[in-house]
Amino acid sequence: MAKKIGIYVERNTISNGDQMAGIMRFAHHAQRMGHRSDFLFRADMFKIPEYDALFIRAFTDPLNSAYVAARTAQMYGVRVLDDPDSILICCDKVNMYRHLMNQSVPIPETLFLDETQLTLAHAQTVFGQLGNPVVLKAPNGSFSMYVEKVENAEEFVKVGKKYFRRSDRIVAQRFVRSQFDWRVGMLGGEPLYVCRYSIPKKHWKIATYQPDGKTIYGPVKALSIDKVEPKLLEVAKKAAAAIGNGLYGVDLKQVGDEYIVVEVNDNPTINAGEEDSQAPELYERLVRYLVQ
């Protein structure tokens, strides 16, 4: 039976050509499978209860309107990606790492700090426990923002002070060096796509924000799910299951033969020609998940 799928977008989504092209491919597949898909903007929020499913392609922080869309859909029994419960976990790194820890998912050694621990003396304790350098993360950063590497107590206090303006807890984590991050897209507990996000030369994370406003990204290489090591997919599955049963982008680093999870993202990027290039069924599976 034909279903009505709403695609909730915001202007940041529209301004990104590759992301928009990915959404158009989703819409095309939905129609080809006999369903109707409509774009919904903020002013259309009141229409959400009229739909059978909602696919959110916007910045999902709980203090932004995309969360209102997700939660409204859930309140009215509309099947939604991303569901608000996943957003609540993934958009707060403290909550996200706690869920991963509770399910014994391998992650870099992690501490949660409150403001009373932001002292030069405590910095030494943290370096003693996690090694040097330490990665500090504000809980509500995304796209590698508000993630910094600190190498001495003064930097620890300076960066920590900046992050405590955003929240009352922050994350301190052991630094794990790598040349690329694995990204495993997961949907309903199963792998959807696999990519390798390379880290740009002379940098240590996949996106680096320059003082002049430019952002440096490394190249993205998609791989077929059946061509990657099963162990990578196993760890990604375990990480996704610790969060929920929706759509996630699980970021992992490879250390020797082991994989450790550095983050689980809700609303993962799905750009045309990148994430979808080695996953021919990606859009069909998204549609099927939403209308089931």
Binding site: R42, A43, L63, S65, Y67, R71, D92
Partner: protein, 231 residues
């Protein structure tokens, strides 16, 4: 469900609150303010100000993540503090609300505007036409974020009350206060309502009521309902 009030009584606004109960010296703010609520068989977070990612929010999250039943949960906090969700939840629970809509900029006075963005907290009331464009620009950070507009019905007055575990010192808000606790599970809140000329009350918004701001009567009421340590 209709929430009415006795229109022979003066409307209560925030300036009246000092009269209701004198604020007491605040408790040590480093205390977690978590107590046991025997009537419900769960813990209750009485910090009163549950803003996202602040310590009281994290305390509720800690309890939830360790499998202990507590109210409000982080999800309940957002359902109550994000105005359009507060209103949707009210609608689904048959609580009366004004007409409302989300917008990036366009609206028509008279409205109460609540921001939906991480940088602005304060709401704004626009009663007359003329400054919509500049107000929208400022409330949305130049149309980057959304805002929620509630139409103010003709003759309506904006009133507030303090809700303490479903109880309110002022009798006319008792039923509304009970609804806030039963449907939203927010123990301490300042609630904004629209009072219509016919006596009907419309739910409009819910905001923080820090424990430290409670008056003697309110603390006395809490003491009769909660145990500060689980027995």
């Amino acid at each position: 469900m209709v929430f009415g009030y006795d229109d022979t009584l003066d409307l209560l606004d925030l300036s009246d609150l000092g009269r209701v109960a004198e604020p007491q010296p605040s408790m040590n703010s480093t205390l977690p303010l978590i107590c046991w609520y025997p009537q419900g068989g769960h813990y209750v977070n009485l910090a009163g100000d549950y803003d996202y990612l602040e310590m009281p929010y994290y305390l509720s999250q800690d309890f939830e993540n360790t499998g202990r039943l507590i109210h409000p949960t982080p999800k309940e906090i957002l359902d109550a503090y994000i105005t359009p969700l507060f209103l949707e939840k009210a609608k689904l629970n048959d609580l009366p609300v004004p007409n409302f809509y989300l917008t990036n900029g366009y609206f028509e006075a008279p409205v109460v505007i609540d921001p939906i963005n991480p940088y602005i907290i304060k709401s704004r009331t626009v009663l007359k036409a003329g400054r919509e464009a500049s107000t929208a620009r400022s409330m949305t950070r130049n149309h980057t974020y959304a805002m929620c507009c509630q139409e103010i019905p003709k003759g309506a007055k904006i009133v507030h009350f303090r809700s303490v575990l479903g109880w309110c010192y002022t009798k006319r808000f008792q039923a509304a206060s009970l609804a806030i606790w039963e449907r939203y599970h927010i123990p301490l809140a300042k609630v904004r309502m629209f009072a219509l000329p016919d006596g009907t009350l419309l739910f409009s918004d819910l905001g923080p009521l820090p424990f430290a701001d409670l008056g003697a009567n309110e603390r006395h009421y809490l003491d009769s309902k909660v145990q500060w340590q689980k027995k």
